[in-house]
């Protein structure tokens, strides 16, 4: 039974990293939102499985929150915003797909090397080490996505994937006390509200979500 639990957790975490790569590849907004929803689903499955294998009931709540918020509500809201702004067919990526993907691969390799080296002495449990390594790569990929995207919504989605990586890492660390879950959820909630407020505000001001439009307003212009 031990072997099977490890394989499933390993599969789900790897799936999450794969989905991050897929999202890097996406250049259509609609596709991006759908993949993000899938990303959240896989995350909740992984956390749920962690809860099952560590027999820690509170992880179920986190999995539920991840599922409800990140998989359903946020993608639907983002989709509605996209449609209203009429931006959903926009294609935007900076620096081309291939270099981004290569950079993604490099980052994953780096995170694996760093985390495996760092954790080899401490936890005998391979699952925790795997989880941390994958979590770090999801975080780095999320950050890469934020860096290479020009659109405000895609940046927010990048940030969301970064948060997903955090939840994966938190779940991976056995016995992480209750406080951390609440905090992650708390940040998701707040992030969404604030982003929402800004998006509407931005739309009211510039009628476009493109961050480039935001930048001329910067103070101290020469």
């Amino acid at each position: 039974m031990e072997r099977l639990a490890f394989d499933i957790a390993h599969l789900l975490a790897g799936g999450l990293v794969l989905l991050s790569f897929v999202m890097l590849y996406q250049d259509r907004m609609n596709g991006l939102i759908r993949v993000f929803a899938l990303h959240a689903v896989v995350l909740s499955l992984s956390v749920g499985w962690q809860a099952y294998s560590q027999a820690a009931p509170h992880l179920y709540i986190t999995a539920a929150i991840a599922l409800v918020f990140k998989a359903l509500i946020i993608p639907y809201a983002l989709h509605r915003i996209m449609v209203k702004l009429g931006v959903h067919r926009e294609i935007e990526i900076v620096g081309g797909i291939v270099p981004t993907m290569l950079l993604g691969i490099g980052l994953t390799a780096l995170s694996l090397a760093v985390m495996l080296q760092a954790t080899e002495a401490t936890t005998a449990d391979p699952l925790a080490r795997e989880d941390l390594a994958f979590a770090l790569s999801v975080v780095l990929l999320g950050l890469l996505m934020m860096v290479t995207r020009r659109n405000a919504v895609s940046q927010v989605i990048g940030f969301m994937t970064l948060e997903n990586g955090m939840i994966l890492a938190a779940a991976g660390a056995k016995g992480m006390p209750f406080v951390v879950e609440i905090s992650v959820a708390f940040s998701v909630l707040i992030a969404f509200i604030v982003i929402g407020v800004f998006l509407f505000r931005i739309r009211e001001r510039f009628d476009s979500v493109d961050i480039g439009a935001l930048e001329q307003g910067r103070g101290d212009r020469i």
Binding site: V114, A121, G175, M176, S183, F186, S187, R201, D220
Partner: protein, 482 residues
């Protein structure tokens, strides 16, 4: 009603929390401002009683030599800033730059920020500290966007994105620290309590701690505003309302640096882990020299002093990076002096911007002629921040530079170069702003000058005479910091 230390600790948190909730319900502006001031006063008094005790450690909160000074400092600066903000925001509404609707949640956010900062300082749990700093960031994001101008929105958006990324990295660092502590302290709650972590830190795996420290220094470093991660700070200061800039520069940067200090203490206990010193020194020097050069081309007075905050945070990081009793003592003293002086500067800048109706340096001339009290207040406080002797900042810089010069002459020379560059820029701007023929509106202002001169008096006093108690605290903590 003399509270003992435990009660005082809870009071310091309870008062701002309840005040925040109460203020959400009250509309209008006059009453909330007064209530805000009273809440801050009450918090400050309860923080004072903390001084009397010898420190207490609870499950979630604890008081020791390091955070007691900063709690008192942040409540004091919070108090004076609330007094300043009462007259500032009143004037902004009167002038019409701020519609009452925007200000609806201002005081509630202010108290929430106070609560978050006190919680971060007193938290005995690294997770709880992270939550508190996250809350502080989010409240300041909302307040930076208060004016709803396009620049304010852009600054708030930039602050949110960079802040959140920083906080996320810090969270990952915290998780790694938990993972490192888990085998020694067992699962669950114990592996995140500061006091236990400090006792058992020697047993943690050094390699994991190193990776954790990388994430923590980058995460909380973003909140401190060190060089590569500083981008949010100048715009957040320039576009947000001035009381928030004062609180941001005076306190929030200190709280974030306090967090970095805590983790540096953790690493210094564990020998095999890499010494965090060189990393902090590099970041510090980079910030000092980078900010020094950026001061020259600034056109907005608040952005000018925002870069000066980055420079001073760089000096403090440099001091803690160098380590050793003298440099650490200088660093701690510099944190206190910088927050007092920088908030005084922002008080002056706030009123100057209101009087002249503009924040651009070109539009402000001859202040010492049109508004002597305000003009000379600005000149003295800028002289203080530039590190000229009679004021306190000079004593900390004196200790930092002389102690480093004996051990690493080149580093001290680089720091002095950065200081001189920054000094040149600051004095160039002040001599244009404060002297010369006054132009633009010169109407009288009903500004509250006493917070500005109260801070300057404290800084001058610290420059000449440091009370025995404060010295013993700093020396004890300096030894702890390694």
């Amino acid at each position: 009603m003399i509270l003992d230390v435990g009660q005082a600790m809870t009071a310091v948190l309870a008062i701002p929390a309840t005040a925040a909730l109460v203020l959400v319900l009250i509309p209008g502006y006059r009453l909330p401002a007064a209530l805000n001031f009273l809440a801050c006063a009450a918090t400050f008094l309860s923080a004072l009683t903390l001084l009397s005790g010898t420190g207490a450690t609870g499950d979630y909160l604890f008081v020791d030599d390091l955070n007691v000074v900063f709690v008192v400092l942040s409540t004091f600066v919070g108090l004076t800033t609330s007094a300043f903000s009462a007259s500032y925001i009143g004037h902004e509404i009167a002038v019409g730059k701020l519609r009452p609707a925007f200000v609806r949640f201002y005081h509630a956010m202010y108290q929430a920020l106070m609560f978050a900062m006190n919680l971060a300082l007193l938290a005995n749990n690294i997770g709880l500290m992270w939550v508190a700093i996250e809350l502080a960031t989010l409240t300041t994001v909302l307040m930076v966007g208060l004016y709803r101008t396009s620049e304010a929105l852009e600054a708030a958006w930039k602050y949110f994105i960079l802040g959140s990324v920083g906080i996320a990295l810090a969270l990952f660092g915290t998780i790694l620290v938990y993972v490192a502590a888990q085998p020694v302290l067992g699962e669950g709650y114990d592996a995140m309590v500061w006091t236990r972590l400090m006792q058992k830190a020697a047993g943690f795996s050094p390699s994991l701690l190193n990776v954790a420290f990388v994430f923590l220094i980058l995460g909380y470093g973003t909140k401190v505003g060190l060089a590569p991660m500083h981008a949010w700070l100048p715009d957040a200061h320039a576009e947000g309302p001035t009381p928030i800039s004062a609180v941001l520069s005076g306190l929030l940067l200190n709280v974030a640096l306090y967090a970095v200090l805590r983790f540096k203490m953790l690493l210094s206990v564990n020998e095999q882990a890499i010494k965090p010193g060189p990393l902090l020194v590099v970041l510090g020097l980079l910030s000092v020299i980078f900010a020094g050069f950026m001061l020259y081309k600034r056109r907005d007075i608040k952005r000018l002093f925002a870069y000066s905050s980055i420079e001073h945070m760089g000096i403090i990081a440099f001091a803690f990076g160098m380590g050793g009793p003298l440099a650490n003592f200088g660093g701690l003293l510099h944190m206190t002096m910088h927050s007092l002086t920088k908030s005084a500067i922002f008080f002056a800048v706030g009123h100057i911007a209101q009087v002249k109706g503009t924040q651009s340096l070109a539009g402000i001339r001859g202040l010492t002629v049109s508004h002597p009290a305000l003009g000379w207040g600005l000149v003295i406080s800028v002289a203080a921040i530039a590190g000229l002797p009679p004021m306190g900042v000079f004593m900390s810089e004196f200790l930092i530079i002389t102690s480093t010069f004996a051990r690493a002459p080149l580093l001290a020379a680089a720091l002095v170069f950065g200081l001189l560059i920054a000094f040149g820029a600051l004095m160039l701007r002040v001599s244009d702003v404060a002297f010369g023929e006054p132009d633009g509106p010169v109407g009288p202002i009903e500004a509250s000058i006493w917070p500005l001169y109260l801070h300057l008096a404290l800084v001058l006093a610290a420059g000449l005479y440091l009370p025995e108690r404060l010295v013993s605290w700093f020396q004890h903590v300096a030894a702890l910091l390694g």
